[in-house]
Amino acid sequence: MAKQLYYEDVEVGIEIPPLVKRPTTRQLVQWAGASGDYYELHYDKDFAQAQGFPNVLVHGKLKFGLLGQMLTDWIGEGGILRKLSCSYRGTDFPGEDLVCKGRVANKYVKDGEHIVECEIWTENPGGEKTTPGNATVILPSRAQDKKEA
């Protein structure tokens, strides 16, 4: 794993390292099994086309999970993901790049916790934010580590 991220390393405006994914239909089926979401819209192309979509859709909650992966990769085992939210604004299709991105929006200390708020989103190949959201993480602090040592 990468080295631990600390509160002091983070400034407002910095970007979270992007996580590039290209979901396949196979991955959607894996997700259906793991999550228990067997809605046909995500693996039956005829069904999806009857609903007016060109292809099956990437599950919204899979995108939630991928944004979660981007965040847990970034904060490492020393960080805590407190809040994760996103809206399934746009549709994403298998075989297309889905890039998870984020940016630090705010940082502050409250009740001894070193809190970082982020804007997060997924981007489609057209650069559109298909899944905008927010996350709150708690990071370890170098100052606190020193005090406890």
Binding site: Q27, W31, D37, G60, G65, G68, T72, K83, S85
Partner: protein, 151 residues
């Protein structure tokens, strides 16, 4: 509002009513399936030896574990809609405690809100469902607020 609301009295009666609980027995195999479906190689979800040396002292579940049908997110309630087409609108999770293999998570949902809006495809119904997840010790490990759209 033209021709009255699509939100019926029967639907309103369901507001705040706790639905049937969903019980999820968290297993390592399930966590691994979820990590594989995400394509997330983080050893904290899978490698016991690695995870033992972290502050968690063992494997924990990725955030996605509590945001899906199997975990009972938005499930067990009497969700009614006059429309046939449905989409997930969004999810908001707050996490309080880690979830580990062996935990038994009981989730209970309730319909918190209905909103109707005029969309590109005509009238749309937004149903917001709140879910509380507790472990076998009765501790709240997470809460969620999920939006479902029908049109």
């Amino acid at each position: 509002m033209q021709q009255g609301s699509i939100i019926t009295d029967e639907m309103k009666e369901q507001l705040g009513v706790e639905g049937t609980p969903t019980i999820l027995e968290v297993e390592k195999g399930h966590i691994r399936m979820m990590a594989e479906a995400l394509g997330d190689p983080n050893p904290l979800w899978q490698d016991e030896e690695y995870a033992k040396k972290t502050r968690y002292g063992g494997i924990i579940a990725p955030p996605a574990l509590l945001c899906n049908a199997r975990a009972g997110t938005g499930r067990g309630v009497q969700m009614k809609s006059p429309f046939l087409r449905a989409l997930a609108g969004g999810d908001e999770l707050e996490y309080y405690l880690p979830v580990r293999p062996g935990d038994v998570i009981t989730s209970v949902s309730k319909i918190a809100e209905y909103n109707e809006r005029e969309g590109r495809r005509g009238k749309m119904l937004f149903t917001i469902i709140e879910t509380t997840y507790k472990n076998q010790r009765g501790e709240v490990v997470a809460t969620s607020r999920s939006t479902y759209i029908s049109y």
